[in-house]
């Protein structure tokens, strides 16, 4: 039986990504697309820079042949605790939940796109047109996730549908959430196990432990956005 404060205190969700393990293989990108019903916009729209990837692998190539260095960084919504996107939304379509998630409510969104313009991480995606699912492709859609319409913003939710199920499971078992209860699609698919997800408020969780690592850094920490995604620097000898 867990104690009362543990039960009432909301979990604070966070993700840790070990850049030393990440190989840039993009399994997470497809896992996310399938789990979250992210539309394939097609070649014409992609050519206009409108393709949507809630998580993407950013590739930075530096140096000249033969001394070329490549770095990969998976970038998803950082679920900032001081999110620049939140105050600018005129209708509260994006706001902060008690679990530290940066929420996007699709059917409240009017589509000012201000949030995307104020996101330093460029992780917000706009539905310029209605998504197309030529039959029978619509059968592969996840019934647990909204299908967005044109004119609304969308982005990573940390797989809220899985968070809800994990929390429900913990509640059924009358305990606080623990590592393994919630595994977002990207984390689950990662072939090198470079991603971790859990409750950072629980100091014994894996993410809390990794957040204390001396390799831990957050993307553009200097902006004061207080992201909930923790990157673990590469352990390069160099």
């Amino acid at each position: 039986m867990m104690n009362e404060t543990e039960k009432t205190q909301k979990p604070q969700w966070a993700m840790a990504i070990d850049l030393d393990r990440c190989t840039g293989c993009e399994a997470c990108v497809v896992a996310c697309r399938i789990e979250n019903n992210i539309a394939v916009v097609g070649p014409e729209e992609s050519a206009r820079d409108r393709s949507m990837n809630w998580i993407r692998i950013e590739r930075y190539m530096e140096g000249e042949f033969p001394d070329v260095r490549v770095r990969f960084r998976p970038v998803l919504c950082q679920h900032c605790q001081e999110a620049p996107c939140e105050p600018v939304c005129p209708v509260y379509a994006t706001y902060h939940t008690e679990e530290g998630l940066n929420a996007q409510v699709y059917n409240r969104c009017v589509g000012t796109r201000y949030c995307a313009n104020n996101c330093p991480y460029s992780v917000r995606f706009f539905n310029f047109f209605d998504p197309q699912w030529p039959a029978p492709l619509e059968k592969s859609l996840n019934p647990e996730v909204s299908i967005r319409t044109r004119g609304v913003m969308e982005k990573c939710t940390f797989c809220i549908q899985r968070i809800r199920k994990g929390e429900e499971k913990a509640r059924d078992e009358d305990r606080a959430v623990r590592d393994g209860d919630v595994i977002p699609a990207c984390v689950g698919s990662c072939p090198t196990k470079a991603m971790y997800f859990g409750n950072i408020a629980d100091s014994n969780s894996e993410v809390a432990r990794l957040a204390r690592s001396n390799r831990a850094e957050r993307l553009m920490e200097d902006l004061g956005t207080e992201p909930r995604v923790i990157y673990l620097r590469k352990r390069d000898q160099a």
């Binding site: 509260y92 939940t97 998630l101 929420a103 059917n107 647990e144 909204s146 809220i160 809800r164």
Partner: protein, 172 residues
């Protein structure tokens, strides 16, 4: 002249109102016709009936997002022998024979465009009576939509019960 205008406008308003009410009355007087005329009253409330609990058939309401409609095989557990020669049960048996589910018509649902992800489980856990959201189904011979599940209606109850009114509680 003024009087006439007033009379006409009152009449007009009255016609509109009554027409609307009549329309309302007609349109909701009865629920949708189901492939098998299942009678909730007979199963739940009828004195000499089996007096089932809701959860006997909608058995996943307490454990999952969906209350679930029982499969024909569940119906056939009893109806294999009970009332096996009533025409409606025969229809049911025919479905069971074909291993097909009757194409039940949904009575309560939210439009997909509402992006609402309703979960029965926490509502049952909070001991919300089925009637609160579904009306007097137990008295109905044919179920109809009695409660209008508008967002304001949901919010109202959530606020009263101190449940979360966070957007992410229902929408995602």
């Amino acid at each position: 002249m003024r009087k006439l205008t007033a009379v006409i406008s009152i009449l007009f308003a009255a016609t509109l109102t009554s027409g609307f009410m009549l329309f309302e009355a007609f349109s909701t007087s009865d629920g949708p016709r189901q492939p098998v005329e299942f009678d909730h009253w007979q199963h739940v409330s009828k004195e000499e009936g089996p007096q089932l609990e809701c959860s006997t058939c909608h058995q996943y309401a307490s454990a999952s997002p969906n209350a679930t409609i029982p499969s024909v095989s569940t119906c056939m557990v009893c109806h294999e022998s009970i009332n096996a020669d009533s025409p409606e049960v025969k229809k049911l048996a025919a479905f069971a024979e074909r291993e097909a589910e009757p194409p039940w018509v949904r009575v309560y649902w939210s439009e997909p465009s509402a992006n609402v992800f309703f979960n029965h489980k926490p509502h049952i856990r909070a001991e919300i009576d089925c009637v609160a959201c579904h009306g007097q189904v137990s008295q109905a011979r044919r179920v109809k939509r009695e409660v209008n599940h508008s967002m304001g209606w949901c919010i109202d109850c959530h606020s009263r019960k101190n449940a979360s009114i966070d957007c992410y509680a229902c929408h995602r």
